[in-house]
């Protein structure tokens, strides 16, 4: 578990570290959350912008990943495309896939627009199994992977 203050400290450290590694993460709302956005090509060839946020969840006291994918005109891409092209979960996959179980669609707590998030109920357990120097980098190496967010090689967690 992570206190909110600790989360903010870690977030700041994380953003700096990512920035040095040419990853465009930014602190938003005075360090309340961090945002990264980049373009992503779907299987149809369509290019969409990915919007990924790290927010603090005060119930579970862990970071949570919020994300959505938009066409250039601002419309979010359909859920099926998120599943197929971003999360890359095959139709036939067993239903106990951990991501399948934990993905939800809620109003973003700050933006008020529907975003996806990965439910944090399992985060603490997973984090306990990881030896970490940087909490957020370890955490993102698990959760970001599912969104195709590869960490810079120099920051890979072993």
């Amino acid at each position: 578990m992570l206190s909110e203050q600790k989360f903010r400290e870690e977030l700041q450290k994380f953003v700096e570290q990512m920035s040095q590694n040419k990853w465009n993460w930014q602190l938003k709302e005075n360090g309340k959350y961090a945002r990264e956005t980049h373009l992503e090509t779907l299987s149809s060839g369509k290019i969409v912008s990915a919007d990924i946020h790290i927010l603090y969840n005060s119930t579970y006291q862990v970071p949570t990943l919020w994300f959505n994918f938009f066409e250039n005109n601002g419309a979010p891409i359909p859920f099926e495309e998120v599943v197929r092209d971003i999360l890359k979960i095959p139709e036939s996959e067993e239903s106990d896939s951990s991501l399948r179980q934990r993905i939800s669609h809620y109003e973003h707590p700050i933006l008020g627009v529907l975003y996806y998030n990965i439910h944090p109920c399992n985060t603490e357990k997973i984090m306990k199994e990881l030896k970490t120097d940087s909490y957020l980098i370890s955490w993102l190496s698990v959760y970001g992977q599912q969104l195709g967010l590869r960490l810079p090689d120099s920051l890979k967690v072993h």
């Binding site: 956005t37 290019i47 912008s49 419309a75 139709e91 669609h105």
Partner: protein, 641 residues
């Protein structure tokens, strides 16, 4: 030929939400340009364009970020589609382009850019936002000057180390600066004026271009400014600075070939194509709810079983006979499963005892004495505006409720209407408050092969029965040795009766007529009935789902024939019972007689329920009960699963 990567605007839903908010509360009818800001990422690789991205925070300047370059622009939001169209005619677009080009040319000719290089780039978005339908149209303009004409480009390898340039950029966030080859140091762009030889300096431009062999359009105006400042130069060396993978480009042009008069603004380009967006799903409350309901179901599907057939709920038409406590709860349950078409039949009115028990009526409905069906329909629509709900104030004809000759015309109509309703729906719930009211719908549902589910409650007991599909005679050849009783062979609500339904309310005192039950009972029974339907519909062939407690039989598990519960012991059983040949409701002879005589048969039954017993031969059976020892072989007629 030198190439420059053009821009493409990427907006997101939070951007439009912010536009909605500001338009409604702040700008209102004000059409003057509003300042907006975009952060262009210097890390982009995966695109054919430079990305001009805008989000909810684009309405205030950013603090700056070492992996981005900020540019500022204007949003012109027109009040009507017509004024947008007028602004988007070729002539208007050219005018706007000229105005913006002139601004940049002024920045160049007055040398202002040497102090404020940010001014070399700008953008304008013209847009219209229909805040009723949440439709948006917009077009972006990012001016780039065609000056000097026809430059050439060469890409040598980088003549300096990009990391020192990035360090300088991180510190100053200067979008354009110099790198002196002699001192090997970055310098402010203002030092360009005193340079004599173009090969002594590198002009460094923070560039969002993702292309490894071409700079972005931002660089074009910088080259224009350099060529204008040093009219004797015929080339310059530019570093297109990116977070990684910066490139060096040598631009050259015929010297003095473009000795333009100072007061002639060069040609300009930079309009993106029109884009439009329909964000009703994101912003229209009614559609948002629809989407949220659907998405919630998709998540169930996605988590539970990808093969779950949600369309079997969303396309289903359900008829609920009886808009009382059970009918209301059934409607709420199926609505949450995605059923969109729900019809109620009820002939009574909301009374003061109803609202606390019925989930679709309120005090006011009782005070006004509104019809139950109508009240339930309105409440459903209030809860979920996208539901298609219909109410019918109709009296279901009942055996034993004798009818006068003068009412026969009405009876004929009622019978026809009820039959049409049953024909036009896929599922019939029998949630009427008396036994005999369930008779005619049972007959009709069986004839028209509908899923019919009877739900009934006592004081602390409940029963849910799904009636056999279709006529008994049509399915006798099916395998009857199987453990699971085929759907077509399941008994109806009346099958176990050896007397015909009569007027159960005629000889009763008031307290017996009134259904009194434990108050949680209706929710329990309705809940089970809803889930029984939900499971049946997930059988590969719902109309052939046998009675079975095998939890692999459908994607949602078992599909029992009956669910009988006893609240005083919190106990529940799931018997399967086969159809009774001589049944007074689903028996073949009854179906036959109804199909032949229609409403007249119904009239005869209303006037004398005994008629049913005569038709089915039940009377003979009753007479023989005394004489013959009937062998009720449990294994044959009742299969306990």
């Amino acid at each position: 030929m030198a190439t420059f990567v053009s821009f493409k605007t990427y907006l997101d839903t939070p951007f439009w939400r912010e536009v909605n908010k500001r338009k409604l509360h702040e700008w209102k009818l004000d059409e003057t340009p509003k300042p907006i800001f975009s952060q262009l990422s210097l890390c982009e690789r995966n695109s054919d364009h430079c990305r001009l991205s805008l989000s909810h925070d684009s309405f205030k300047p950013s603090n700056g970020n070492p992996n981005e370059v900020s540019i500022s622009g204007n949003l012109i939001l027109y009040n009507t589609r017509e004024s947008f169209k007028a602004a988007a005619t070729t002539k208007s677009l050219e005018e706007l382009m000229k105005t913006e080009a002139t601004k940049i040319w002024d920045v160049i000719t007055t040398k202002t850019w040497l102090q404020t290089p940010h001014l070399l780039s700008s953008f304008t978005i013209i847009a219209f936002a229909d805040l009723k339908k949440f439709h948006y149209i917009y077009k972006t303009f990012i001016p780039s000057l065609k000056y000097p004409k026809n430059p050439e480009q060469e890409i040598p390898s980088l003549s300096t180390d990009e990391s020192s340039l990035l360090t300088y950029y991180k510190r100053t966030l200067a979008p354009v600066f110099l790198f002196s080859k002699s001192s090997q140091e970055p310098l402010e762009i203002a030092h360009l004026e005193s340079q004599v030889n173009p090969d002594d300096v590198l002009i460094v431009v923070a560039d969002p271009s993702p292309n490894p062999s071409s700079a972005g359009r931002l660089v074009k105006n910088v080259v224009a400014a350099v060529a204008y400042l040093h009219s004797s130069w015929d080339h310059c060396n530019v570093i297109s600075l990116r977070s990684s993978g910066s490139i060096e480009i040598k631009y050259s042009w015929p010297a003095n070939a473009d000795a333009v008069a100072q007061n002639v603004v060069p040609q300009c380009s930079g309009w993106e194509q029109h884009y439009s967006a329909d964000l009703s799903k994101q912003f229209d409350p009614k559609i948002m709810m629809e989407e949220a309901v659907n998405l919630n179901l998709s998540l169930i599907k996605w988590r539970l079983n990808p093969d779950l057939k949600l369309e079997r709920y969303s396309t289903l038409k359900v008829l609920i006979l009886g808009a009382g406590t059970i009918g209301c709860n059934l409607a709420r349950g199926i609505m949450a499963w995605g059923v969109r078409h729900i019809s109620f039949v009820d002939n009574s009115f909301v009374s003061y005892s109803n609202p606390v028990r019925q989930s679709l009526s309120k005090f006011e409905d009782a005070r006004k004495g509104r019809g139950k069906a109508e009240t339930a329909v309105d409440a459903l629509k209030e809860i979920f505006p996208s539901v298609q709900a219909f109410g019918y104030q109709l009296t279901v004809p009942m055996p034993g409720h004798t009818i006068d000759e003068k009412d026969e015309e009405q009876l004929e109509k009622d019978v026809r209407q009820l039959e049409d309703l049953i024909k036009n729906h896929d599922v019939v719930f029998l949630a009427l408050d008396s036994r005999e009211a369930r008779w005619l719908p049972t007959v009709m549902a069986s004839i028209h092969r509908k899923i019919a589910i009877s739900v009934a409650i006592g004081f602390d007991t409940y029963v849910i029965i799904r009636h056999g599909i279709g006529l008994r005679k049509d399915s006798l050849s099916e395998d009857v040795n199987s453990e699971a009783v085929p759907y077509s062979q399941l008994s109806c609500y009346f099958c176990s009766d050896v007397t015909a339904p009569g007027n159960s309310t005629s000889d009763r005192t008031l307290d017996q007529q009134c259904t009194v039950s434990r108050s949680g009972l209706s929710m329990i029974a309705s809940g089970f009935a809803v889930e029984l339907l939900a499971s049946i519909l997930q059988h590969p062939d719902p109309l052939a789902a046998p009675a079975s407690l095998d939890d692999n039989i459908t994607l949602l598990g078992a599909v029992p024939h009956q669910i009988r519960g006893f609240l005083h012991r919190f106990q529940q059983i799931h018997p399967s019972v086969k159809r009774f040949e001589k049944c007074v409701a689903c028996g073949d002879l009854i179906a036959d007689r109804f199909q032949k005589n229609g409403w007249k048969f119904v009239r005869d039954v209303m006037n004398s329920p005994k008629h049913l017993e005569e038709v089915t031969g039940l009377d003979e059976l009753q007479e023989s009960v005394e004489a013959i020892d009937i062998d009720f072989d449990d294994d044959e007629s009742v299969v306990s699963v």
